[in-house]
Amino acid sequence: MTQTDPILRVENLRTELALSSGAIEVVRGVSFSVNKGETLGIVGESGSGKSMTALSIMRVLPRPIGRIASGSIHLNGRDLVPLSETEMTRIRGREIGMILQDPHTSLNPVYTVGNQVIEALQINQQRGGLLQKAIDLLKKVNVADAERRVHAFPHQMSGGMKQRVVGAISIAGAPKVIIADEPTTALDVTIQLQYLELLEQIQQETGTAIVFITHDLGIVARLCHRLVVMYAGRIVEEGTVDDVFDAPSHPYTVALLHSVPHVDRKVDRLYAIEGNPPALHEIGQGCSFAPRCPLADERCRTVAPPTVAGRSKAPDHFAACWKSGELA
Amino acid sequence: MRRLPLVPIALLLLVLIIPAFFAQWIAPHDPYISNLRARLQPPVGFGGTWEYPLGTDRLGRCMFSRILHGAKYALGISMVGIAIGAILGTALGLISGYLRGWVDVVIMRLVDITFALPSILLALALAAISGPSLGLVVLVVVFVIWGFFARQVRAEALSLRERDFVARARVAGASGPRIVLRYILPNIMNTIIVLATLQIGVVIILEATLSFLGIGIPRPAPAWGLLVADGRQLIVSNWWISLFPGLAILLTVLSVNLIGDWLRDWLDPKLRQA
């Protein structure tokens, strides 16, 4: 992986949802990049804007209420934001793929698994011997007995198996980037690990970049090279997994790290972050995390925090916090 | 489905219906008395006079008065029929949902069967034997609507009986009928009211249709369906005889439907799917 060669570059992305109570900004100026063959983790609680960021990149925001207000999303050097729906349709699946959260609902119940895999192949200009290609693809994602399963309907499969199929669909067009939106959350714990291994295996074989969205820092440690931490629609910290885990530079990251159960330490109670993420229309001028932050002072509450170097002092480690230096 | 300004529309239309309740005082003529010298008078604006604002029928009866009086049949039948149907359906629904088991199975199969027999067929069979009558219309109405109440009430009773406050009452030794009447029924009232309102339009159209076909309200009552039927053969020359009574049906049903929708959203949003 070459650090200087981003395949996906998101810059100052702002996304709005037009709700009946008025428009709210769910993604508020997010910038990050993903390099070829790299796995980037996007971490945050629900409501932090991480899924909306993913949907913005795919340009499949909820209709008709979602829209990208400003910013750019460069995939392989080409900005996706101004593309028409027709042009975007050609990008999806071929250049960028996505794995959704819940395998139980993300496959179409009325078509066989094979039909849905073959459709993905056809979209990517594959012709001839499609059934065999679909079977091969299913084998690639470790679906046992693929010859038979290709004719099965989704409801006849387990969740883990279905998520493998979704994985197969996402790689059918050999995309350069795959966005995985909490792909293991709905799976059994034992299956989760297998699935992560599968993603690693896919990445090694195809060299695709993966954007892995999760609230689970344990998974990030296991799978990702770098991560960004999101809070209330903004990125609060960014860096390599090693740097961020060793020297978390935002109080929110610290709190998140505390809430990860350690295998070697028996934890009776997860360290809970007090309070809830702010409702997005309530966000004021200062740092969004201030109301829950143990270090917050008047300045935090009134002035938006600057982006500062992370405590690791690594050149690619940043945090958006006034109090970064006070963390120990 | 709609974000139309429901309440104003409904009220506006209601204004058109209300006079019907006072038909006796408002109507300019006796709806039954014919004036053979004023036969087939066109309505005002089409060569007629204010004496007969909506014209007259072939016996010279005032259409406006007949339509006003006809409202009694539309509204009366639907109220009586729906009241009986609602009580019957609610009772059976409560029994079905509370007792469950084979009673439930039998009652729900009966609902399916009444839904399976198109109402007009029942009316046909009945009318063939006894001739058209008011009682027949009410019977058909009850037959058509009790199942809606039974089904919905049963579903809610089933879920309510598992709720804490019902369980507590049971533990406290309340008898079955007491639980049903004191704890379950009051919680279903909203649903029943909404369902009843939503059925009014259906029932008015049903009554009008049966009357139109001559298997509903017997002549010479000025029921709207009969008025439309009166004008059917004259549509080529005297269009107003059929047009205005039908318009009365349309406006009435439209307004009760709008009110019903509004009431549903307000009282019982979960019925939306139904």
């Binding site: 999806r92 793929g97 | 399916d112 399976a116 046909l124 063939a128 059917r232």
Partner: protein
Amino acid sequence: MLTFLLKRTLYALISLLVITLIVFSLSHLSGNPLDALLPDDATPAQIEQVTRHLGLDRPIWVQYLTFLQNAAVGDFGDSLKWKGQTAAEVVWQRLPATLQLGGLALLISIVVALPLGVMAAVYKNTALDAVATVIALLGQSLPAFWLGLVLMWIFAVILGWFPTSGYGGLSHMILPAIAMAWFQVAALTRLTRSAMLEVLDAEYIKLARVKGVRERSVIWKHAFRNAAIVPVTYFGVLAGSLLTGSVVIETVFNWPGTGWLAITAIQGRDFPVVQTVVLFFALLFLLANLIVDILYALIDPRIRNT
């Protein structure tokens, strides 16, 4: 799948049995059936003959069984109004006319309502959606018989585009078919729209989009196939309403089908014919519902496999 269908068939048979019971009771419990069967000026000899012929002197359950037995082979006795023909023959002759009209109405309902409902959902809260809403609202509130008359008045009497009434080719059928279909279009549009809205929110639609499926294919292949389950289940009711509608519309337009026959038979106090029509319609209705169950299973593999 097989058990599912067997169960459904059994239900349909039970329903049919109950309906025959209702029809039978109606003809026997509401006074002497002879009143209905015989003209007012019947001679004692006629009464005697009909009584014996109908087995009215036997126990009631024997009468019912006989009635069932006869019904099973389509024997409902002779028509009283159309002399020299059995009731079954009279009904059978009128059937093609009803099927023609009902078929056209069904076609209109589907061809108009499904695309309209789908588009109203896809273009939610646009002008198109508003049009669909108004159609749905009017459909619920317009009495079909009056709509028929108004159509006749405007398009046949005033504009002269179509014949006013009577039996004939397509030009005779258009107005009655539209009047018949109107309510169905409204109901079906509403159902399709709400089913589509629900489906369009589903995760598998999102997956279809992210995998690069073209929008048209997302709507028709992925969404509509799932949403179609709802309107398909409605086709049973639809068939029933069309039968009911045929009674009304055929009467309005003097279309000589079974519905018109039923009303004419009532006026002529021809009870065997009325009874035949009622049972025949009930049978058709149950059959339609059975077909719906089969379609339902074909569309939704989850049912097929249980």
